[in-house]
């Protein structure tokens, strides 16, 4: 089994503001710079101690994440993270210019010597307000944009595109991806519609902001549709994102986590603005299993989060056991270990413990 370190690049002041969008009144450029430096240090450490991937994501208008364009941050990472793959999970393609996304991924793949993993997501519902895109069009935009990006990577002759949502007179990107035919693509598979699209189009599956029982259903759905489409996804085609904190003892890990949660209560970006979430829901964004899609965004307390596999927490021994359960239930070959709150030295220690005491023991999981 493999592991990634997902660093959301949070703004380091928990009191900076809440809701969505968040006012910039309390913003400090020094704080932002320190936050980004800390994130670079965490991701570099992950590379040094043996993580297989480092991961970034795209979020806007909030101290929750300082990477509205993760491609920019990944550009810096290509020069700091020398071994691990650099995963962007992802670009929120329905709100972006798909050709620009194809070009940026190709640039990064070139700068990293072919170490880019190309996540393409619909993103969290609030992002549709960011660039004023109708969330009702989200799924159709996503499917067309992904098809176009893949065409831009693989078609060497200049071509035009007459789509439903995108139109280009000519496309011929330079640079082109190092990995051929293109970097591995991941997309979210939490909804049945997404799982079906991923299966039919042979795209790898990412599961985030969910829990093990729900993810298990999503994986089964994806595998069933992939089989119908004539292929069998491997464990490396499935990544499960989960919060984590590892300390030398269980008690220390839980104390660290609880203190951080008190200082900075967690709320999903979408649920941080109820009016926005209601409007997005009314657009039909969630699809045919709306209730489950909304339910998985609801917060749970720590005990429940551990039971549901939303959080890995404890000593290395405890966390290995928690990972074994996830591997067994989901068949996922990749864990996207997420830094919930930046605890400074404690977070660095947590990364180090995973690298030195957890990763060596989970490598063979699923290979027996």
């Amino acid at each position: 089994m493999k592991a990634a370190l997902f660093c959301p690049v949070r703004y380091s002041d928990p009191a900076a503001g809440s809701g969505w969008p968040v006012s910039g009144n309390a913003y400090s450029s020094d704080r932002a710079e320190q936050s980004m430096s800390a994130a670079l240090a965490q991701l570099k450490l992950a590379d040094d101690v043996g993580f297989d991937w480092v991961t970034l994501a795209e979020h806007h208008y909030s101290p929750f994440s300082l990477t509205p364009n993760p491609m920019v941050f990944a550009g810096a990472l290509t020069q700091v993270v020398r071994r691990a793959k650099i995963a962007l999970l992802g670009a929120t393609i329905p709100i972006l210019n798909p050709i620009r996304v194809a070009e940026e991924f190709a640039m990064l793949d070139t700068m990293s010597g072919g170490r880019i993993v190309a996540g393409m997501l619909r993103g969290s519902p609030n992002e549709y307000a960011t660039y004023n895109i109708n969330p009702a069009e989200s799924r159709e935009r996503f499917e067309e944009a992904l098809t176009l990006i893949r065409m831009a990577w693989t078609e060497t002759e200049p071509f035009g595109w007459q789509g439903r949502y995108y139109e280009y007179r000519t496309v011929s990107i330079w640079p082109r991806p190092v990995q051929q035919p293109h970097p591995q693509i991941f997309m979210s598979g939490s909804s049945p519609e997404s799982g079906e699209f991923a299966a039919v189009n042979r795209i790898s599956l990412g599961l985030a902001f969910t829990n093990v029982p729900l993810a298990k259903q999503s994986v089964a759905h994806y595998r069933a549709h992939a089989e119908r489409a004539g292929w069998n996804p491997t464990a490396d085609d499935i990544i499960y994102r989960v919060l984590f904190h590892v300390a030398d003892t269980d008690e220390q890990a839980i104390e660290d986590y609880a203190n951080a949660a008190k200082a900075a209560p967690r709320s999903s970006l979408t649920m941080a603005n109820k009016d926005l979430e209601t409007a997005v829901d009314a657009s039909g964004y969630y699809g045919r299993d709306r209730d489950m899609q909304r339910q998985r965004l609801m917060p749970t307390d720590l005990k429940e989060s551990i039971a549901l596999g939303r959080v890995l927490i404890g000593s290395p021994d405890t966390v290995v056991r928690q990972i074994e359960r996830i591997r067994q239930e989901l068949g996922a070959g990749l864990l996207d270990l997420t830094i919930g709150n930046d605890l400074g030295e404690k977070t660095l220690r947590s990364i180090e413990l995973v690298g030195t005491k957890v990763l060596p023991r989970i490598r063979e999981l699923g290979n027996a």
């Binding site: 067309e144 002759e157 200049p158 007459q162 007179r169």
Partner: protein
């Protein structure tokens, strides 16, 4: 049904677009959208049709924009090569692969084609450009190849509005096709 050429439909007002299609095919569903801005003359092309038949039938005072669907592409290419002054722009919708033995007269002369050429192909089916489009691109590097998203071989049946929009823009802009003139102004 003529085995050479017959006028099937003449609709709309404006600059003329001549659409050639198989004689036994129903008029393209893209015609109503095109006819909003153009006079569209639809001709059925029979198996014995030759380029000269089309020239006689059109008898236009000015060069026309010529569109050909599927198998009618051969006749259209022959016409443009024989009478380049009669055609201001040529668009081919999902053209068939030229048979280099049978179509040698066309294939050998493609490099001399100076009329602006647009080739529309669907994204469904084979990944990447079909051999027919690649051959045209190789012979004429300046030709424009445009994918019509989410369409198979019957592009104009499946996405008539998208096909009509591409054809209309190409008929208007011809050599300037790469640069849009559509305004992005939202609120003057």
């Amino acid at each position: 049904m003529s085995d050479r050429i017959s006028l099937r439909q003449d609709t709309g007002n404006g600059p003329i677009i001549v659409l050639l299609q198989a004689a036994d095919a129903a008029p393209s569903p893209a015609v109503p959208a095109l006819a909003r801005d153009f006079r569209v003359q639809v001709y059925g092309v029979g198996p014995a049709a030759a380029a000269g038949d089309v020239i006689k039938a059109i008898a236009a005072a000015q060069p026309v924009a010529l569109v050909a669907t599927a198998a009618a592409a051969r006749v259209a290419l022959g016409l443009v090569l024989d009478e380049p002054g009669a055609v201001s722009a040529l668009a081919l919708i999902d053209p068939p692969q030229l048979d280099l033995a049978r179509d040698a007269a066309i294939a050998d002369r493609l490099a001399s084609l100076t009329t602006p050429l647009l080739v529309l192909v669907g994204t469904r089916g084979a990944a990447g450009l079909p051999p027919s489009a690649l051959l045209l691109r190789k012979a004429m590097p300046s030709c424009h190849i445009v994918f019509v998203y989410d369409a198979g071989e019957k592009l104009d049946d499946e996405r008539p509005e998208a096909v009509a929009a591409a054809l209309a823009e190409f008929a208007r802009s011809r050599e300037r096709y790469l640069v849009t003139t559509r305004s992005g102004l939202l609120h003057p």
